[in-house]
């Protein structure tokens, strides 16, 4: 029965995913296929070879129909079972294939790389057909069955991994398995003998396994014995439903005629064993290429197998009972759910609400309709499927789509959403803000896209790629203002090269150079007094003055770079460059910038001493000016810097320095000072600078230098400074 009794369903947790247990009997399947001489017998199902020669020419002898041997039938059907299994569960549902004649031949192992129909086919080709001349006395399926039990005790990679991962609770990893035996049994007693033998072997092997690390005791084994007999004969073995032989072993017997019936039986078994269900896609439009009907189109049906959870909604709601395409298996027909092909296709940019995606396997993989459908999907197109409803309303319930060469049946939600009509994001927190840096964050997202990194590539830091991705996000967001009006530098094209580079984990010398160039460029802009894209939102009037704007910009840039300065020496060099450039005004702007010097100097004193030497000397000279100021105006002026060293020797008074000190003080500036500053600034632009002032050192210039050389006199007159 496809749909389990509701009462029999395990009690489910809330969002418990309805999957079979990781280590259910389905984890390990052993095929034991009889290779004894009697399997070489004909199945007596005839394959017509003559079907294609309708207009037979005279004199051609009609081809005699051929028939397959029992062995061929068994191999074909078991391979079909494996094909479906591997299509739907490419991982961790494992098959071990054993052939038995006078001894057993194990064709593959539990290892993942051995799990493919290709592997099995090559191994089977090497085995060849049964040898009818072999002594039937020494041939037996028992060899294979014993080997199957031994094989079930062997630990699989997944079991090993899980046991290691679970550590103390490794006993949660169960060891269950299923043996599918394809044979030609002699009688019911023979079957019983086989069952007893397996039971004994399990007990024996479990004892062995108890003392081994690489073996696990079998907790549950399911024997599925398929008795194959040629068509037209009466069976000597009766069908028997599943029965418990011991707590360890259950057994069921299927007695099947070879050929078509056997194929159907194994198809049903694979569905039962692996919780599969069938869907028939109907109304697939296909061009007919046969000669008679060129360029006409017909509709085809294709049957697919997949995990039965893709139909969960149907059998829960009872809807499946009404569906036209369904019929019960008891009638010998296939139970399938019919879904209709929908011509309006979906585009890949749409994100559907999908509650499940299940791998599919076509039941008839070679047929033309099947391969047309699968090729269509493999080419990257998706198809929506419509659920036929009694009411005639149209409901899209599924979607077929391929991802990387695998086709999935997606289950789409077709019910009312409980999340409908939510408050719009613009009504919530931050919803009224309109100047988010949406485009910039989009760019940020593009830079932080993910890509698969091969598992073999090992990072020296020992971090997994996903952790490195998070680390990159952390670096990129150390300073990231969210709105346009909060930032200046990110609105400036000129800063882009630096902003892109500084977030990198490591910088090359070339990167540092690019950053420095960016800084120099900014310095240049400042000298040219280029306008900055500073937002005036929220400020009254015209917003801050140009030099204030630059101050804001430099501060922001410094904040950005500071968050990265600790990373490497090269990052630090970029920071140093900024500090040096912003605080070292070009000479012609010297005066203009005086007003800011105090502040800048404070910044500098916070910094460590890793500065270029010329920078330092400049700083020293500045400081000495400040000291002199202090000497002049001790009464009113607050000390420039509390830890300034005492002057070594008292310098002569400098009358021209009078107006400067108030600018440096921390106290309020008097109206007079402000006025005189302004006048000074204006006046200074109206005349050519004196030679002496222009080439002064610390605003001092030694006059009559030539006399000094001639007279040896020490002239104490200094150059006039600003007046």
């Amino acid at each position: 029965m496809l749909f389990p009794d509701r009462e029999a369903l395990p009690s489910q947790g809330f969002h418990q995913i309805c999957k079979m247990k990781m280590f259910s009997v389905a984890h390990k399947t052993v095929f034991v296929v009889d290779h004894c001489p009697y399997m070489a017998e004909s199945s007596r199902q005839q394959v017509e070879c003559d079907v294609l020669t309708k207009s037979r020419a005279q004199g051609v002898i009609p081809l005699a129909p051929v028939s397959k041997s029992l062995w061929t039938c068994a191999v074909e059907c078991s391979m079909e079972y494996c094909r479906i299994l591997y299509d739907v569960y490419p991982k961790d549902k494992l098959v071990n294939y054993i052939v038995s004649d006078s001894e057993f031949h194990i064709l593959n192992s539990w290892r993942r790389e051995d799990q493919s129909t290709h592997e099995l086919m090559s191994a089977l080709a090497a085995v060849g057909p049964p040898n009818p001349r072999e002594d039937p006395e020494c041939c037996s399926i028992l060899h294979g069955l014993v080997a199957a039990v031994e094989s079930l005790c062997k630990i699989t990679e997944l079991q090993h991994e899980k046991r290691i991962a679970l550590m103390d609770t490794a006993d949660r990893v169960a060891n269950r398995g299923r043996i599918i035996c394809l044979t030609n049994a002699k009688s019911d007693t023979h079957v019983r003998m086989l069952e007893d033998c397996i039971q004994e072997t399990i007990i024996e092997q479990n004892k062995l396994a108890a003392g081994s690390d690489r073996l696990m005791a079998i907790q549950q084994c399911e024997l599925v014995l398929v008795h194959i007999y040629p068509q037209g004969e009466d069976t000597l073995v009766s069908d028997r439903p599943k029965k418990e032989i011991s707590p360890l072993l259950t057994s069921e017997v299927h007695s099947v005629r070879a050929g078509r019936h056997l194929a159907t039986k194994l198809n049903i078994l694979v569905q039962q064993h692996f919780d599969l269900a069938s869907t028939t896609i109907t109304n697939i439009p296909m061009k007919v290429k046969e000669e008679q009907h060129a360029n006409t189109s017909a509709n085809y049906d294709v049957e697919l197998l997949h995990h039965r959870d893709a139909h969960l909604e149907f059998f829960k709601s009872g809807e499946y009972l009404h569906m036209a395409g369904t019929s019960t298996r008891e009638n010998g027909l296939k139970e399938t759910v019919t879904l209709k092909w929908c011509t309006p296709r979906t585009n890949s940019i749409e994100l559907h609400y999908c509650t499940g995606a299940y791998r599919i396997s076509p039941t008839d993989v070679n047929s033309r309709p099947s391969s047309c459908l699968t090729n269509f999907l493999l080419n990257g197109r998706s198809v929506l499927l419509e659920q036929p409803r009694k009411s005639g309303s149209k409901v899209i319930s599924h979607m077929l789509s391929s991802h990387g060469g695998e086709i999935f049946l997606h289950v789409l939600n077709s019910n009312r959403s409980t999340l409908e009509d939510p408050p719009s994001i613009s009504e919530g927190c931050g919803g009224r803000v309109t100047d988010y840096r949406i485009t910039d964050f989009g760019e940020f997202m593009r830079e932080n896209r993910l890509t698969p990194v091969s598992e073999s590539s090992h990072d020296p830091s020992g971090k997994l790629p996903a952790e490195r991705a998070k680390a990159q996000l952390e670096r990129h967001t150390r300073y990231w203002p969210m709105i346009i009006s909060q930032t200046t530098i990110f609105n400036m094209q000129a800063v882009v090269p630096l902003a892109n580079l500084i977030v990198k984990e490591t910088l090359t010398d070339e990167d540092v150079l690019t950053c420095q160039k960016t800084v120099y460029n900014l310095v240049d802009m400042e000298r040219k007094n280029d306008p900055l894209p500073i937002s005036t939102v929220g400020s009254r009037g015209k917003g801050p003055k140009r030099d204030e704007q630059y101050r804001i910009m430099w501060n922001e840039l410094e904040t950005l770079v500071k968050t990265h300065a600790g990373a490497t020496d090269r990052h630090q060099r970029v920071l140093d460059c900024i500090i040096a450039c912003r605080s070292k005004p070009p000479e012609e702007e010297d005066r203009k910038k005086r007003g800011r010097k105090r502040e800048e100097r404070e910044d500098r004193t916070e910094k460590n001493g890793s500065k270029e030497t010329d920078d330092k000397s400049w700083q020293d000279s500045e400081r000495s000016v400040g000291l002199m100021d202090k000497d002049e105006q001790e009464s009113e002026v607050i000390k420039d810097s509390p830890d300034s060293p005492e002057p070594l020797n008292k310098k002569p008074r400098l009358t021209s320095e009078e107006i400067q000190p108030p600018e440096r003080t921390k106290g309020p500036v008097s109206l007079l000072t402000m006025w005189s500053n302004r006048i000074t600034a204006v006046n200074s632009r109206k005349h050519q600078e004196f030679f002496g002032r222009a080439s002064s050192v610390n605003s001092k210039f030694e006059l009559y230098q030539h006399l000094k050389d001639e007279n040896g006199m020490d002239v104490h007159e200094n150059g006039k400074a600003t007046r």
């Binding site: 395990p10 009690s11 489910q12 947790g13 809330f14 969002h15 995913i17 280590f23 394959v47 294609l52 020669t53 020419a57 051609v60 591997y86 129909t117 899980k162 990893v173 829960k316 559907h352 609400y353 509650t355 995606a357 008839d364 993989v365 070679n366 047929s367 979607m399 991802h403 990387g404 060469g405 695998e406 289950v411 009312r416 409980t418 409908e420 009509d421 939510p422 408050p423 719009s424 994001i425 919530g428 927190c429 931050g430 009224r432 803000v433 485009t439 964050f441 997202m445 593009r446 932080n448 890509t451 698969p452 990194v453 997994l464 790629p465 991705a469 998070k470 990159q472 996000l473 969210m482």
Partner: protein
């Protein structure tokens, strides 16, 4: 996750509560008081929840269909009438119908059954229903378990001792077990009074209706958010990993992926991610005091004007057509994306993937997704013309390779060979008729 409140309005609910003197209450009054408290809480803290109100005795009636209008629910509560006897089975059938009609059979649902613990007598009583559980035909099955995932909360307007004197407690426990075992039975502690009913509903609120608050991180950018509905714990494999996994309160963005690359992935649940003002999460479980409401507009206006990372993220995800991959816990991931409804209102949404290291085969292991900056060449190409996704499986599926299945005669490729042979034979025959000088091949 919608809620159905199933209110017992049988006569036994009108039993007076024996209090010493002052005021006399019926059990019904206590139940209504408790439910009012629940609705008030939901109106202020969980208002996106759809709730419906059903009353039942021997019959059932849908008083308020699923709504977010908590005033309507409270009003309906105040107009309850009294009817005859309790018949839980009929009422549960009603719940099943109402929920499936509205939400289908996949949507998880919460049922709050409010009763006094006297579960009817004779036919139609819960005792009778449970006793005859096994002797029913397909058409008269007991409604539990519901086809949809259910959490059943039974609020007893009675104390545990009272219920244990009869078999009521056993019956209720069996009912809970039948529903799938997810849920709880609440009883009143101490004397039956307003205070103890408040305590009982308070527990329900704490357990089920307290908002789930988390912090969404993207490197150093972050935002306080409410995730609605509450993400539920998930059990992946009851045998290997029986402990349910829960969503962490720190949601960390790992990186970004194009919508076309993530390709409509299967998800176990969807949640709204609503930014919240930080000061708000102090009083989570308050009953929604009225004086707070007065301040709220100004507070929310303030919050609306300060930039929030969620809004920025939402805007960019929408514009770029991308999703953010977010880590919800150890080996558990989800995605954030912009979701627009039919009214063009859009919102930040989070979908949860199956827990595990590789929820989507076409992305490979999530822990092995790294930043593109590490790759030698940009895997998306300089002009975004390519994509590193989907990840190709090592082995091709049967339909993607040239396999041959010989079971059906039509699948036999050798027939084509035969056809060729036949045509050759025909040719040979014609050749034979030709003058002997012409030799065959």
């Amino acid at each position: 996750m919608p809620t159905v409140v199933l209110m017992d309005v049988s006569l036994s609910m009108t039993r007076p509560v024996s209090l010493d003197g002052i005021e006399e209450f019926q059990r019904k009054n206590l139940a209504v008081h408790g439910l009012n408290m629940l609705f008030e809480h939901m109106a202020s803290n969980y208002r996106l929840e759809f709730t419906s109100l059903m009353a039942f005795s021997s019959l059932w009636e849908l008083l308020v269909p699923f709504t977010r209008d908590y005033n309507a629910l409270q009003e309906a509560l105040s107009n309850l009438e009294d009817y005859d006897k309790t018949c839980v089975e009929a009422a549960l059938n009603g719940v099943s119908n109402v929920v499936q009609q509205e939400w289908g059979s996949a949507c998880p649902c919460q049922v709050v059954l409010v009763t006094d613990g006297s579960l009817g007598i004779g036919k139609g009583s819960l005792r009778h229903s449970l006793q005859t559980l096994k002797q029913r035909g397909d058409d008269k099955k007991f409604p539990l378990p519901f086809p949809f995932p259910t959490k059943l909360f039974i609020m007893c307007i009675a104390n545990a001792e009272e219920l244990q004197m009869t078999d009521a407690m056993d019956n209720l426990e069996e009912l809970l077990c039948l529903s799938g075992g997810d849920g709880q039975i609440f009883t009143m502690e101490g004397p039956l009074c307003m205070k103890s009913v408040q305590t009982m509903f308070g527990k329900l609120i704490d357990l089920v209706y307290s908002p789930f608050h988390a912090v969404l991180h993207c490197g150093n950018l972050s935002s306080d958010v409410q995730v609605f509905p509450r993400p539920e714990p998930v059990v992946m494999d009851e045998e290997v990993e029986p402990m349910p996994r829960t969503v962490s309160t720190d949601l960390e963005i790992v990186g970004f992926i194009e919508i076309a690359d993530i390709a409509s992935p299967p998800v176990i649940s969807r949640h709204l991610v609503l930014p919240i003002a930080v000061n708000k999460d102090v009083d989570e479980v308050g009953t929604g005091t009225t004086d707070e409401l007065e301040e709220e507009p100004s507070a929310s206006q303030m919050a609306g004007k300060s930039p929030n990372f969620c809004v920025l993220l939402h805007g960019s995800l929408k514009v770029e057509g991308m999703v953010a991959l977010v880590q919800l816990g150890p080996e558990w991931y989800g995605m954030l994306y912009s979701q627009a409804d039919s009214k063009k209102k859009s919102n930040l949404m989070m979908s949860l993937f199956d827990p595990g290291p590789e929820p989507l085969p076409w992305l490979g292991k999530i822990s092995h997704l790294g930043p593109i900056s590490e790759a030698a060449d940009n895997p998306y190409g300089e002009d975004d013309s390519k994509s590193p996704f989907p990840v190709q499986p090592q082995v091709k599926r049967s339909y993607a390779q040239n396999v041959t299945v010989w079971i059906k005669a039509s699948g036999l490729q050798c027939l084509r060979l035969l056809k060729c042979f036949l045509s050759l034979i025909k040719k040979r025959l014609t050749i034979k008729k030709c003058p002997p000088t012409v030799k065959f091949m």
